[in-house]
Symmetry: C2
Subunit: 251 residues, 2 copies
């Protein structure tokens, strides 16, 4: 069974270059392992219309949608009210989340900004995490997580057992130095034609110190097909005079 996921990173810090993303690769890898491969990623600013339109579009196109960012206490944290708007439900205090936050901060420090974090879309289910009280939640097929990587990862692992998994994806990689894509393209296309259900990827590398070459990846849900394609890739690399090494090229 094929299942698909999309990811929305909400916030200005990636778009401005301030922060280097540290969430995409983790989620892409974990979702692949769960058989819910990531098919699209969007990075969008903290703008209400953009958030509402993006989530409305993607939740209709993909089985699961994950978001990160915008669930803190500041004026630019608007993910929760935007999700309420996208689902056409009220944004209201969630009693269990209110109590969790009140107990954590203590009555005196539980000010208006922090109380605002206890408001969720009606019908949302909180996503717990072990490292903070950040209020992640699931509504429909949309999973709203924190942007801070440690917190996001904890939320994702709390969520993972409840996600409906697809068939796992198998992958085999060969790389070779000194051969280039142009030499391999024709042979690789012939392998792709023989295994139309697999994703065959060709990834040139070109390091600062001058090392160059190409990595070829076979990916798919049928393990025997992936193995057969990997063998064909090995044979192609040998035929073209390469020195195939299993795995990813060193950085």
């Amino acid at each position: 069974m094929r299942r698909t996921a999309a990811l929305i990173l909400i916030g200005n810090e990636i778009l401005s270059g301030r922060t280097r993303d540290d969430n995409i690769q983790f989620l892409a890898t974990r979702l692949g392992e769960l058989g819910i491969p990531l098919r699209e990623i969007r990075v969008i600013p903290d703008i209400r219309e953009t958030i509402v339109e993006t989530v409305t579009e993607l939740r209709a196109r993909f089985d699961e949608v994950f978001t990160t960012g915008g669930i803190g206490p500041t004026h630019d944290d608007i993910t929760a009210p935007c999700m309420a708007e996208a689902f056409g439900v009220p944004w209201e205090f969630h009693p269990a989340t209110f109590k969790l936050l009140e107990d954590f901060f203590g009555a005196e420090k539980f000010n208006a900004a922090r109380q605002r974090m206890a408001k969720l879309p009606r019908g949302a289910t909180p996503i717990p995490n072990s490292v903070s009280v950040a209020p992640g939640f699931t509504i429909g097929n949309v999973h709203v997580m924190a942007g801070v990587p440690r917190i996001m990862r904890s939320m994702f692992e709390a969520l993972a057992p409840s996600l409906k998994q697809g068939a796992p994806v198998f992958s085999r990689t060969w790389y070779t130095p000194s051969l280039y894509e142009g030499t391999l393209a024709e042979g690789l296309e012939a392998i792709q034609d023989k295994f139309p259900d697999l994703d065959l990827g060709s990834y040139p590398f070109h390091r600062e110190d001058g090392r160059r070459g190409v990595a070829l990846v076979a990916k798919g849900q049928d393990k025997a097909e992936v193995e057969a394609a990997a063998q064909a890739i090995y044979d192609l690399l040998k035929e073209k005079g390469g020195a195939p090494v299993e795995g990813e090229p060193p950085p």
Copy 2:
């Protein structure tokens, strides 16, 4: 003058988790410096319909669109024909690019796969680069670049002088350990209300070794306003008992 940019990363390697993106932060930073801030990023697979629809939508919504990936010689390199389709023009041999590639590879190694790289959308202008013969090009407001970071950067710098710049964005950052967003949210919102044209960002950090705190960023095109808001941020951090330090928190 406000100008805007969008970025499309084309290819499966980021979506599968195979590769950690190494292009976004560079482009976000450089576009900010040129006064053409990045407003949206999409990561999409090598699927014809998806590429054509995405570029058609984004080139209408933003002043400049940059793409990376999919311009090599293999079967999954389909960015150039997709751009031709999006612009409704033929995808055809570009004589100068053909000659450049033929001279580089030599007639014997200039096989069909490599010749395919010499086909561009009609009306495209090549983007040169100093580290390879990868065939980047501009068509309309869309700039098609390589996915390999070194080549992409060289293409971007070749392109930069010809981009119409907007007003540069100024930025000041303070961080403080031991204060959290919830303590600062109300004061920060008051500063945002006073400077509605600025982007005030609040970025909590939470390191593996337990260091926590928050960074506050004021950004905008009016330098005096940015300075005034930075002073107000400093005053807020002092008032709340913080120890403000200029700049980004250490990793």
